[in-house]
């Protein structure tokens, strides 16, 4: 379908208006919202993810694609809800307490949304008890944490301990990421999955729920 291709291409180049117009055209042509989502938007995000992983595109290009994706989702969401389309899983995500960086976390959120997840974004500087509350409230499949600083990455263990203390550890998989992290650090704090970048995070999340 030409219009779905146009949506995909607009999203990949970060063209917010192009995505919005494409969605309006597709809906006007009677194309199902689910098909617009899958063939116009999620497929584009797959391409973005692969290109990012392969160093064909970089953070600026991913950010403008994310902006276009968000604009498209805003336009399409009411139609998806009407049609009863369900996400493939739910993720609670946040940057840990004391850390105010959000680019990496936002890219993971966008990639996960692009992979078909519902993402509850707790934002930045999120305390351990807030993560626990969110797991209780939203009952996600995955809890994702981000940290950019050596001074804050230790907070991830506090969150994992707090989730365990609340008796929730078996109910949720825990993913961690952020520039200073390593696999050995993730292993040491008891995380289930460590991801080097946002594209890896989306792939790993899909493997956890599918």
């Amino acid at each position: 379908m030409q219009v779905l291709q146009a949506i995909s291409q607009a999203l990949q180049r970060g063209d917010v208006n192009g995505v919005r117009q494409g969605i309006a055209t597709a809906l006007g042509e009677g194309i199902e919202p689910k098909r617009i989502l899958e063939e116009g938007m999620l497929s584009a995000m797959d391409i973005i993810g692969v290109k990012f992983k392969n160093n064909e595109i970089f953070v600026p290009e991913v950010l403008i694609a994310a902006r276009a994706m968000n604009a498209g989702m805003e336009a399409l969401k009411p139609k998806l809800v009407e049609a009863g389309i369900k996400p493939i899983g739910k993720v609670v995500i946040g940057t840990v307490k004391g850390d105010l960086h959000d680019i990496g976390k936002n890219m993971v959120r966008m990639m996960m949304e692009g992979a078909g997840f519902e993402v509850v974004d707790l934002g930045i500087d999120v305390a351990a008890e807030r993560f626990v509350e969110a797991v209780q409230e939203h009952q996600p499949d995955i809890l994702g944490m981000s940290a950019l600083l050596t001074t804050t990455m230790g907070e991830m263990k506090a969150v994992i301990d707090a989730v365990a203390d609340a008796g929730l550890r078996d109910q949720v998989k825990i993913m961690v990421g952020g520039a200073p992290l390593t696999q050995s650090f993730a292993d040491q704090i008891g995380a289930d999955v460590y991801c080097k970048n946002a594209a890896e995070a989306a792939s790993a999340a899909k493997q956890l729920v599918l």
Partner: protein, 345 residues
Amino acid sequence: MKPIERVTLTLQHKEADRIPVYPLMCGVARKLVGAPYPRWSTDMDVCAEAYEKVTEEFDLDIICTLIDLSVEAADFGQPIIYPENEAAHPDFHNYMLKSIADINALQPIKFKDSVRMKGMVKLCDRLMKSKGAEVPVVAFVFGPLGVLSMMRGQANLFMDILDDPDAVKNGVAAVTETLLEYIDALAATGVPAVMLDTLFASQSIMRKSMWLEFEGPYVKRIAERIREHGAQVMIHNCGNGIYFDAQIEAMQPTAISFLHLPDDCQSPQELKEKYGSKVTLIGRIPPTWLLTCTQEDLEEECRREIDDYKAGGGFILATGCEYPANLGFEHARTMVRMAKEYGKY
């Protein structure tokens, strides 16, 4: 051999008595003078005392005056937060450049009106007087695109680059004018080198051609100004897939402080072969790994890196980014011991 002799030979790609060493001990040095982070960051007498003590106590071969990445942006008027136990940073909820139009309208500020940049000059001046005859003092300056990001927010700036390239270039140009004056003042203290942090020149952030367009020409001017003063240009970049080739072309540095392999090298051996005769390699113990590794792990890693890079000079053992500010000192001691024992020529 004095540190300055050791480092000089190393930068000339000659073998000294041993490889020089400096775990990038900056914020952690505040503990030696019992100062909380905000005081260490803003009271340059306290900061200088901390750098003097850490240099003496650990027998470091270089002093690099990294305080935080907000020094320059603060003087442009960016509101800064000074946390008790970590480096100062911009108020992420209150960036002073709220739109692309604000970037486009940004004007240079005069160095004489600055506070934190003047503080850095004072720090360099004191360290040159107290330590400069024996230990090379390297002034640390954030690159112009990085400074702009501290006033606009990185995510915003990255999107601005694609939305309105000319406006971003105007902003970078304004910051550059100020940094040139700053370089003049730093050079007047007699520092033998200035280390430019080119945070975005790696695959972690942006494509090489984008960096070359949006920061390359500006850091080239800054590097030329540094050399006009008779000082050396060094680079720090802890990104993954760092662009050695583009940065060498733009800045002609004598040394690059790095954490990850460059984008065009698959192994340490390839890196040494390709760039080892062009620049002195400074690195590249991962600082975050220090939080979890054992002393034996670190000894092994030091041995591996020394074996990879020390031949023919041109290698300084260091952390690939700042030594964790809240870590103990034991790993720093181990690195220095390994350089002295295993890093002998």
